[in-house]
Symmetry: C2
Subunit: 206 residues, 2 copies
């Protein structure tokens, strides 16, 4: 398993940062049209009008570019979830329902509207890229936050060790959180958020 690493030499300033962003944006567009798997860095360089050597000044591999794209793409899901669950005045129960609904909806949306990008995200999940690990950890931290709050407010039971509850919920949500698995669960995305949320919320009852 190769873990892609993004070159980020300390001496580089904001201009380099802009160029990196430009490469990522151009690669994003190129990959979402032609796919990630079949595109080489040479193809990409040609298509976006930079030399291959120039691209390699900023990224040490195609995977490092894919990783940057993937991180952007998964952070869109995280941002949508964060917004949905952090609205004022919601109960922990309602926050949890929103978490599940938003993860599924944004994942499915990505799948149907940007299939090639989705494939990069699924690939990153299968290869345990850092972007996919960060994403997983963020979703899990939302689960932890909601369960903890629900326990403090007396909405949820407190007998089960907190980490067991959070691990079990995170595992139960995996078919919808993990892009690699979501594509096999598309037949269930209508009913799953409600059925799964209801089951988990019943398990949390005091």
């Amino acid at each position: 398993m190769n873990q892609p690493s993004v070159i980020s030499p300390g001496a580089r300033g904001p201009v380099d940062h802009d160029i990196r962003d430009q490469i990522v944006a151009a690669a994003n567009e190129h990959f979402s049209q032609y796919g990630y798997g079949k595109t080489t860095v040479s193809d990409l360089a040609k298509a976006i009008g930079f030399s291959k050597a120039y691209i390699y000044k900023f990224f040490d591999s195609k995977q490092a570019i894919g990783e940057a794209i993937c991180a952007n793409c998964l952070s869109t899901i995280v941002a949508a979830v964060e917004k949905a669950i952090n609205e004022e005045g919601l109960s922990a129960t309602e926050r949890f329902r929103r978490l599940v609904k938003t993860v599924v909806a944004t994942g499915v949306d990505l799948f149907f509207n940007d299939r090639k990008l989705y494939d990069i995200a699924a690939f990153s999940a299968s290869e345990h890229w850092p972007s996919s690990q960060v994403y997983n950890a963020q979703i899990k931290s939302f689960v932890l936050q909601i369960v903890r709050e629900g326990r403090e407010l007396g909405e949820f039971e407190r007998k089960t060790p907190l980490d067991e509850t959070v691990d079990a919920i995170h595992l139960a949500l995996r078919p919808f959180v993990n892009p690699l698995l979501l594509q096999y669960n598309l037949d269930f995305v209508e009913q799953a958020p409600t059925l799964t949320s209801n089951l988990i919320l019943r398990s949390l009852m005091p």
Copy 2:
């Protein structure tokens, strides 16, 4: 989606049945060595010493042979589960734990010990072959049986509609029941049976 159909003309007697079984057994061995995807009916005929025309007298396609193999293979899992949960004197809770444990253990065993056969089962799940649908329905009927019994004995809550409870549990077990998904969940097969069973059992508490 092609649904394979097995030719079973009314007039054929037990001898034909034996020959079918022989073809399935030989194909089973051949596929588990060379894989299902790359083998043609001609390859298979040559390898098992029947003419291609003769094989086609019994099965109308390679898929029909694969389907018969798959049905055998999935019925092994079902038989193991049935045996595990139907032992005398178990509580519904204990039956449920055994269901989950046995599904995961036999699926994982198949994956590691007969990878090529497992791949046929995964393929059958992705294509919704009848064998895979029957398997799914059988696992679901075990869930129904256990939940109903647990409700009657006062072990499980009765407020949630029975079909919602069963659908939700069946969905929660899908990553481990479905061979297509199980292969992506191998990192979790140690902890998942306990974590998932505990969560589901908490959701069933009266």
